[in-house]
């Protein structure tokens, strides 16, 4: 299955472990993710302001690239897969604006007049979790070579995959799609009350203490519920819950660090792929001691970058 894949900037810069683990797993599952030859910023939070047509140009231009890929036969269906939760949210919402507000749609196309074609609104934006689900969890389960038995995983959704309701990939109040994935991988999903609470988002730039406070609550609740590790689908959540644990340590002396990784890294592990696909070496804190203690990774070898 050939699908268009929109990467976004973070996956090309700081979340390489998210991209590599997903692309390698997809290859293994027979999903051919094709990156557009030309793409630009998804638009991030700019595009979320409602009355601003100018900021919708970035996401819609990317959707136009997907239509172009379809027209030139590079992909079979007008679907684009995203990994980053921010890119998913931005592209999906811009697409919704385009398809429900014909005045804005016209203005957006008028402002992209030097493109060779106009965007027609035909693209479906989906998250890789939805793509995997559409292929059925049983089909995925049958391809697992290393079941993650005994690993207690708390899925952390954050906000961008779920809200606003109209574009969420799952029930905004009680999402289960990552639990379903984790079960298919043979892991034990851990339910906890903070799975869709805010991580502090961009406050991480200027108000680290806000993020430290919110992240601590999320991590603490997950640990109390028995989790060994958390998984997420958002590079910003990953950063705020992972590397930012050093800020929590400065404030909460009793705090015990816990690994936070992308769901795709566990997927790659369960599919039997090695460090070149799982890229655990780029996570902070390092998840490998835990995975070794659970018998899911071999003992330390010289290839590990620690």
């Amino acid at each position: 299955m050939k699908l268009a894949y929109y990467p976004g900037c973070t996956l090309k810069a700081t979340a390489r472990n998210f991209e590599v683990s997903t692309l390698e797993s997809s290859k293994k599952l027979g999903i051919d993710l094709v990156e557009p030859e030309r793409w630009n910023c998804c638009g991030t939070v700019h595009a979320l302001s409602k009355d601003d047509v100018m900021h919708h140009l970035a996401p819609v231009r990317n959707l136009l690239r997907v239509e172009e890929m379809k027209k030139s036969g590079l992909i079979e269906e007008n679907r684009v897969v995203t990994l980053c939760a921010m890119c998913y949210n931005t592209l999906k919402r811009a697409n919704q604006v385009f398809n429900t507000d014909s005045d804005k749609a016209k203005k957006i196309n008028e402002n992209m007049e030097n493109e060779t074609s106009h965007y027609e609104g035909t693209v479906t934006v989906e998250h890789i979790l939805e793509t995997l689900k559409s292929l059925s969890w049983d089909a995925l389960h049958s391809k697992i070579v290393k079941p993650l038995s005994g690993l207690k995983v708390a899925p952390y959704y954050g906000c961008l995959l779920l809200r606003p309701r109209g574009i969420g990939i799952d029930n905004a109040d009680n999402p289960t799609i990552m639990e379903e994935l984790l079960k298919a991988l043979g892991a034990e999903p851990v339910d906890f009350a903070y799975k869709q609470k805010c991580c502090g988002s961009y406050h991480t730039v200027y108000m680290k203490e806000v993020v430290a406070d919110l992240s601590y609550k999320i991590l603490d609740h997950a640990q109390r519920a028995g989790a060994d590790i958390l998984v997420t689908a958002c590079p910003l959540c990953e950063y705020n819950l992972g590397p930012r644990q050093t800020e929590i340590l400065k404030r909460v002396t009793r705090f015990n660090q816990i690994p936070v990784i992308y769901f795709s890294q566990l997927l790659a592990l369960a599919l039997g792929l090695g460090e070149e696909a799982t890229v655990f070496g780029e996570n902070k804190p390092d998840p490998r001691p835990l995975l070794r203690s659970k018998g899911l990774l071999k003992e330390k070898n010289s290839d590990d970058r620690e």
């Binding site: 900037c9 090309k12 810069a13 030309r38 793409w39 630009n40 910023c41 638009g43 700019h46 100018m54 900021h55 140009l57 970035a58 231009r61 402002n111 992209m112 030097n114």
Partner: protein, 229 residues
């Protein structure tokens, strides 16, 4: 080539109407009309980027960006030269910076304000995909940014049109410097030539040229070897 059709056209230079021969470039037409260039003119061959010019034509909302030395006049052109664009050009030591996205964000953080509106691309007289190279720099794809911006003359029109106030040509220059320093690395033939210059291989030749008469220089210039693709 431009053909002489013996006709005249009307152009407007900064609002004043002039009737000029239709086969002239904007630059020559302005000189025909009495303007004398002190700034806004350089190589006259489309290489230096000094003669950035914008125009609209009667009946069209489109604002076009061109080089005055390259674009032929057309009936009804309303013309203004933009010989200089104020820009914040950062100083850095290329030996001490890293080849990654953060370097672009450190020196030109405003690139994160790019809306992907593509106005820069529309303004470019060189038909460069300006927005695409700014976007490539933003995500740390130095090779792509360097490749796409390669034909940039630094005329400044992109910077004057950008709603995010980015100065794309400085970003492109940084990309090309990082590319040649850290990714491509030094090229064999350049190193070889530097060595030859150091060993004074061409000194006699240069001295001979310096002393040559105009006639001999003209002959040499006109019979020089030109390698085309």
């Amino acid at each position: 080539m431009i053909e002489n059709n013996n006709s005249m056209v009307n152009i407007f230079v900064m609002g004043k109407k002039h009737t000029v021969p239709a086969d002239l470039t904007i630059m020559k037409a302005m000189e025909f009309a009495g303007h004398q260039f002190k700034r806004g003119s350089g190589c006259r061959g489309g290489f230096c980027g000094a003669c950035a010019t914008v125009y609209r034509k009667k009946g069209s909302y489109k604002l076009q960006g061109v080089l005055a030395c390259q674009k032929q006049v057309e009936e009804g052109m309303i013309i203004a030269q933009i010989p200089f664009s104020p820009s914040e050009k950062k100083t850095y030591n290329v030996d001490k910076i890293n080849a990654n996205a953060n370097t672009f964000l450190e020196y030109y953080p405003e690139i994160a304000r790019c809306l992907a509106c593509n106005t820069c691309t529309k303004a470019c007289p060189q038909d460069i995909m300006v927005m695409d190279y700014v976007q490539a720099a933003l995500r740390g794809n130095i090779t792509l940014a360097a490749k796409l911006s390669f034909d940039c003359l630094g005329c400044g029109l992109c910077a004057m049109r950008c709603p995010a106030e980015i100065v794309p040509y400085n970003v492109g220059q940084l990309a090309r410097r990082l590319e040649s320093k850290y990714i491509e690395g030094p090229t064999e033939h350049v190193l070889k030539r530097c060595e030859e210059i150091k060993n004074r291989k061409f000194d006699d030749e240069i001295e001979a040229l310096k002393k040559a008469e105009k006639e001999k220089l003209t002959k040499l210039y006109n019979s020089r070897e030109i390698i085309t693709k």
